[in-house]
């Protein structure tokens, strides 16, 4: 009985071996000769085209570092290095050229009827404080801001890298800290003057007459603020709010914002400020050398009555009505 069992076992083993060979034949043929793990892997170009950035997971605590490649930086660079300086140069130099031409053709705008002996209070001390709080901080913010964009082309070659860094470093702090008085000034300015700056029919007539800017002796009527001044007011308010919002985003990096938000904020911040600087150059011109008697309004707060009658006729009437003609007072005897 032992022999047949052994024989049977051998036969089974042979069959099993044969079966293995038969089965493994096609399996071996299916095995690839080489593997290509990259066939299914992520590709840089593909990610850049699909997602505009290559992003992943990171194991260091700084989770913002999970962006591997952000090509948006190149766009920001192009804007900051080419577009922005050009816009700024055209806006600021263009405005200066327009003002020089205006001064050459029109000259200083004088009080047509000559200065009177009487003066009228145009801006009280709080209004002047608000104006100079905003204006003073804006001037320093503008200069330090312009230094960041244009300083390395204009100032750095003149004063050298060490002095320029010291200046720019101080400028950065001035810019960061003076933003708060500027924003405070904006809020006050809005509250104090918004009622006088709502557009009305008088403004249409004023604008149609070109504000009397181009022709001597033409003085379209105006209330406390004429249409030109209202435009300045709204440029400051709208531009100032834009500057404040974008500025705060830049002042508090990554506080709920991404690098894309900061790039966009910087672009808007730069654009608004350059346009506003150009507008302010015109405002400064007409408020100082461009017009006789204009500076007094923000200087002493009291303007010449004839100046007021020519430039703000309706406002003078209102004031006279309010005070019963006592609004104007004789100039102190000299």
């Amino acid at each position: 009985m032992r022999m047949p069992i052994l024989l049977w076992r051998r036969c089974l083993a042979v069959v099993a071996l044969l079966g293995l060979v038969l089965l493994s034949g096609p399996l071996a043929a299916q095995q690839p000769t080489s593997v290509n793990p990259t066939a299914a892997s992520v590709q840089e170009q593909q990610l850049l085209q699909q997602l505009q950035a290559v992003q992943g997971r990171i194991s260091i605590p700084d989770q913002r570092a999970n962006v591997l490649i952000q090509p948006a930086g190149q766009d920001w660079r192009a804007f900051h290095q080419v577009t922005l300086p050009w816009i700024g140069a055209i806006a600021i130099l263009g405005m200066l050229a327009v003002l020089v031409l205006f001064y050459m053709s029109r000259g200083k705008i004088m009080i047509d009827s000559g200065p009177s002996k009487q003066r009228i209070v145009r801006f009280n001390s709080f209004e002047r404080f608000v104006h100079w709080l905003t204006a003073g901080s804006f001037m320093l913010l503008a200069l330090t801001g312009l230094n960041i964009t244009f300083g390395k082309f204009l100032l750095l070659p003149v004063i050298g890298p060490e002095a320029f860094t010291a200046l720019s470093q101080a400028g950065k702090y001035v810019h960061n800290y003076l933003s708060f008085p500027f924003m405070l000034g904006l809020v006050f300015m809005f509250l104090v003057w918004v009622v006088h700056n709502l557009p009305n029919a008088v403004d249409v007539a004023w604008l149609k007459a070109g504000g009397g800017l181009l022709k001597k002796g033409v003085h379209p009527p105006a209330k406390k603020f004429n249409a030109g001044q209202k435009l300045i007011f709204w440029a400051v308010i709208v531009g100032g709010v834009g500057l404040s919002v974008t500025g705060l985003i830049l002042l508090f990096p990554f506080q709920g914002t991404s690098i894309a938000d900061m790039q966009l904020s910087q672009m808007i911040h730069g654009l608004i400020s350059l346009v506003l600087i150009a507008v302010m150059i015109a405002h400064i011109y007409i408020g100082s050398v461009g017009m006789e008697g204009a500076f007094d309004a923000m200087g002493s707060g009291e303007v010449d009555l004839n100046w007021a009658k020519e430039h703000h006729s309706l406002w003078v009437q209102e004031e006279m009505k309010k005070t019963g003609g006592a609004g104007a007072r004789a100039q102190a005897a000299e």
Binding site: S34, V35, N36, P37, T38, A39, A40, S41, V42, Q43, E44, Q45, L47, V54, Q55, G56, R57, I58, S59, I60, P61, D62, R64, A65, N66, V67, L68, I69, Q70, P71, G73, Q74, W76, R77, H80, Q81, N147, I148, T149, G151, K152, L156, P161, E162, F164, T165, S168, Q169, K172, N176, L250, L251, F252, P253, F254, Q255, I259, M262, Q263, Q266
Partner: protein
């Protein structure tokens, strides 16, 4: 002179983060600052890849272009370095950098940034080579000692390559030819406007 570059072979990187640690240790980089990091893309999915990234020392570097105080300079080895004495910490280089390389210690109020810190390609800064002043500001200057960046030198899988661009490109090309695949030189197109053709 060589044109120094980094190349990370994503098919070899195992995300061990040893390059990150080595860099931090070699240069005594302060807390919160990472000159090098490893990013894993498609984590846990098929085709996942890890890439070690630091400053790529770009050709026509965006950081240098946008810097308002011109504190960047390129060495004869094409390594992009900067002067911490001139840096004002404005953050513009971080906006422009495609690789998120610039890092800032947080100093003062409203998140105001201190002097920028970034990968120096282990080449220090403008101070005298290997001086204590240079070490304190920028870390070790291995290049001055004839050594390559530590991150690449100690990479266990030799995924991270550092050295002359032509030589490391050739090493990578040979690898790809031999093994039959490669996901490319990550960041090269952005940094050097060039890629490794195999």
């Amino acid at each position: 002179m060589a044109r120094m570059k980094f190349l990370c072979d994503a098919d070899r990187c195992i995300e061990c983060n040893a390059c990150v640690t080595a860099c931090k240790n070699e240069h005594e980089v302060p807390w919160g600052i990472n000159r090098r990091r490893v990013v894993t893309i498609n984590d846990g999915k098929p085709g996942e890849r890890s890439i070690s990234m630091a400053c790529m020392h770009c050709t026509d570097a965006p950081c240098a272009a946008v810097c308002p105080v011109n504190c960047f300079y390129t060495t004869a080895d094409a390594v992009v370095l900067h002067s911490k004495d001139l840096c004002i910490g404005c953050g513009y280089c971080f906006y422009a950098c495609p690789f998120g390389a610039p890092q800032y210690p947080r100093v003062g109020n409203f998140g105001s940034r201190g002097k920028m810190d970034k990968c120096t390609y282990c080449a220090g800064g403008p101070e005298a080579d290997s001086s204590p002043v240079e070490y304190a500001k920028y870390g070790a200057n291995r290049l001055a000692e004839g050594k390559l960046p530590l991150c690449a030198e100690m990479c266990s899988t030799k995924a991270l390559l550092a050295g002359d661009g032509d030589i490391i490109a050739q090493i990578y090309r040979e690898r790809v030819l031999k093994r039959g695949y490669g996901s490319g030189a990550w960041g090269w197109r952005t940094a050097y406007k060039d890629t490794v053709n195999v």
